[in-house]
C-alpha cells in the first residue's frame, strides 16, 4: 500500500509545478555569485578533506623548538607559530575540524528543532504550550556564557561533548521557525483531508507536512551552518572550544590575542581569519540565494 501511495504522489509531482528542489537549484544557477560560492565551497571541502588524509595531525601539532615563529618560507608555506608548528598544516586540519563540527552541530540542531517544532506546531494546544515554555527558557539563557561554563564543567572534554554542548543550546531558533510554519500548515485542507481518510498523525507529520517545509528547512540549515562555524571558531578563539592539540580555525586566530603576534606575525592568524570570513560569506551567499528561491516574489528566474 505504501508503494502505490508513493507512486501516486510521484505521478502527481511530474504533472504539476516544478518541485522545490528544482526551484532551489535553478535559483543557485541563475545567481552567478551563489554558484561561484558553491563551487568554491565544494573545492575547499575536497581539498581540505583530501589533503588532511595525507597530513599527519600528530606531526603537525608537535612542538619544534628549532623553528619558532618562522615567517613563510619554502619549508613552511605559511610560517610557524610560537611552538614551531607548521601554520599551513594547522590551517588545513583546522578548516577540516571547523567544517566537521559545524556540519555535525547543524544536523543535530536541525533534527531536534524539526522534531520539537513539528510536534508542537502540528498538535498545538497543550503540547505546543509545554514545548514553547521550554523553548522560551532556553531562549533567555546567555548562550555564550552558559556554553563556556559547560565546556569548563564537563569532565571528559572532547569533540563529542563539545558538539553536544553546542547542540543543547542552539536548537531553539529552528524549532520556533518550524513550529510557526507547521501551525499554518495544519490549517490547510490537505491535512484535514488526509486526517479524514484516516492517516495517522505520524504519517501526516513526516510524510506530508514535513516535505512541504523542506525548502525552508534547507535554507535555515544552510544559514545556521555559517553561524555555527562562526560560533565554534569564536569559542575556540576565546579558548573554550577545541583543545590546542586539535586545531580549529579559531585556535589559529586566537594566537592573535598575543599583541606581539597580532602586530608582527600576520602569517599565523591572518590566513585563518580570511578563510573564516570567506567561508562564511560563501555559505551565506548560497543560503541567501536559496532563501530567495523560497519566496516567489524575489526569485531571479
Amino acid at each position: 500500500m505504501g508503494n502505490t501511495y508513493a507512486d501516486q504522489t510521484a505521478a502527481q509531482d511530474a504533472g504539476k509545478s516544478p518541485s522545490s528542489w528544482k526551484i532551489l537549484w535553478r535559483e543557485i544557477v541563475r545567481d552567478k555569485v551563489a554558484l561561484a560560492s558553491l563551487i568554491f565551497l565544494g573545492a575547499v571541502v575536497v581539498i581540505v578533506y583530501g589533503v588532511s588524509l595525507v597530513l599527519d595531525q600528530k606531526q603537525i601539532v608537535t612542538v619544534d623548538l628549532f623553528a619558532l615563529n618562522q615567517p613563510p618560507s619554502a619549508d613552511f608555506w605559511l610560517g610557524t607559530d610560537y611552538g614551531g608548528r607548521d601554520v599551513f598544516g594547522q590551517l588545513i586540519i583546522g578548516t577540516r575540524n571547523s567544517l566537521s563540527i559545524g556540519i555535525i552541530v547543524t544536523l543535530l540542531t536541525g533534527m531536534i528543532g524539526i522534531l520539537i517544532g513539528l510536534a508542537s506546531g502540528y498538535f498545538g494546544g497543550t503540547v505546543d504550550n509545554v514545548f514553547m515554555r521550554f523553548v522560551d527558557f532556553f531562549m533567555i539563557l546567555p548562550t555564550l556564557m552558559v556554553v563556556i561554563a559547560f565546556v569548563t564543567a564537563v569532565p571528559k572534554y572532547g569533540i563529542v561533548s563539545f558538539s553536544l554542548i553546542m547542540t543543547a543550546f542552539l536548537w531553539m531558533g529552528i524549532a520556533r521557525l518550524i513550529r510557526s510554519k507547521a501551525l499554518q500548515e495544519r490549517e490547510l485542507e490537505y491535512v484535514q483531508a488526509s486526517r479524514t481518510v484516516g492517516s495517522s498523525h505520524l504519517k501526516i507529520m513526516f510524510g506530508q507536512v514535513l516535505p512541504n517545509l523542506s525548502s525552508i528547512i534547507i535554507v535555515t540549515m544552510t544559514l545556521n551552518l555559517a553561524a555555527n562555524i562562526g560560533l565554534e571558531s569564536g569559542l575556540s578563539f576565546l579558548g573554550f572550544g577545541f583543545p590546542e592539540s586539535t586545531p580549529s580555525l579559531g585556535t589559529l586566530v586566537s594566537y592573535a590575542r598575543n599583541p606581539q603576534t597580532l602586530e608582527f606575525r600576520w602569517w599565523i592568524w591572518l590566513p585563518a581569519s580570511i578563510l573564516i570570513l570567506v567561508l562564511m560569506l560563501c555559505i551565506n551567499n548560497v543560503g541567501q540565494a536559496l532563501k530567495r528561491a523560497t519566496d516567489a516574489r524575489q526569485r531571479k528566474g
Binding site: 522560551d136 527558557f137 531562549m139 533567555i140 539563557l141 546567555p142 548562550t143 555564550l144 556564557m145 552558559v146 563556556i148 561554563a149 559547560f150 569548563t152 564543567a153 569532565p155 555559517a226 562562526g230 571558531s233 569564536g234 578563539f237 576565546l238 579558548g239 586566530v253 592573535a256 590575542r257 599583541p259 597580532l262 602586530e263 592568524w269 581569519s273 573564516i276 570570513l277 562564511m280 560569506l281 555559505i283 551565506n284 541567501q288
Partner: protein, 320 residues
Amino acid sequence: MWKTTARRMIIMIPQILLLSILVFLLAKAMPGDALTGLLDPSIDPAALEAQRERLGLNNPWYVQYWDWFTKALQGDFGQSFRFKMPVADLIGQRMMNTVWLSLLTLVLTYLIAIPLGIISGRYHDTWADRMITGYTYLGFAAPLFIFALLMLWAFGFHFGWFPTEGSVTPGLTPGTWEHVVSKFYHILLPALSMALITTVTTVQLLRSEIIDTKQRDFIITARAKGASEARVYNRHILRNSLLPIAAFFGYEITGLIGGTVFIESIFSYPGMGQLFLSSISLRDFSVVTALVLLYGAASIIGALLSDMILSAVDPRIRIK
C-alpha cells in the same frame, strides 16, 4: 497593555529561578573548588577539610544553593577568592565599563543604521543602495571577533590612531576632563567595531520596511492629495517603518551581551565579559555565577522590553 506587562513580569520569576539553579549547579560541577587554587602544599589536609566544612562546601547542593540564593537576594554574592573582595563590589567596578561600552555601541548602531537604511530604502536599486546592501551582506557574514581583530590590527597597531588596550590612560584623576576624554578615546574603537557589525540587521530591516511601505495604499493617497516628497517620506513612510526598529531595541541589548565578551577580550577592556573569562579559567566560581545570573537577567529584561514595545506598537500581539 498593563495586563500584558504584568503577565510577562510574572513569567520572568520562574525563569530567573531556573537560571539561578542551573548556573549554581554548573559552577558546582566545575572541577576543583575555590580552595584548590590556593593550595599551598605545606597546609595540612585536615586543616583544609576543616576550612571546607566551615565554608559549607561539604553540604548537599540544595543547602548550599539556598544559602547562596537567600544571600544573593540581599545583594551578597560572596567573596571573590582571587581578588579577596566582595563579588558585588568587584562586579560594580567592572559593570560601569561594560555599560558605557554597550551604550556607546547602541548609539553608534542607530546613528549608522537609520541614515543608511533610509538612503537604501528611499533610493533603492541605485548605486548607493547597492553599496549599502553590499556592506550589510558583508557585515552579516563576518564574525564579530574577526572583524574586531582586524580593526584592532589596522587602527590600533598599524596606523596607531587608537589605544590598543585598557579603558583609560593610567595616572589620570577620575572626574577631570582629561579622564573623561581618555575614557571616550579608549572606548571608541571597541564600540565602533561592534556597532559596524550589529547595525547590519537594523539597516536591512529598515530598508525592507521602507520599500514595503512605499507601495502601500495610504502612500499613494498621500501623493495623490499633493503631499510633497519630503512630507511623504518624513511623516508617512518613516513613521511607519521605524516602529519595527523600535520593537527590536530590546533584542539589541540581548545581542550586545555575547558581543561584549568578545570585544572586551580582544581590546583587553576591563569590563564584565573579561572578568567572566578570567574568573572561569581561575575557578573563581562565586564571580562566575553572579555574572551569568546578571547577564541572564539582562537578556530577560531585554526580551521583556521588546515585548512591551511591540505590544504598545501593535495591539494584536497583546496576551489575552
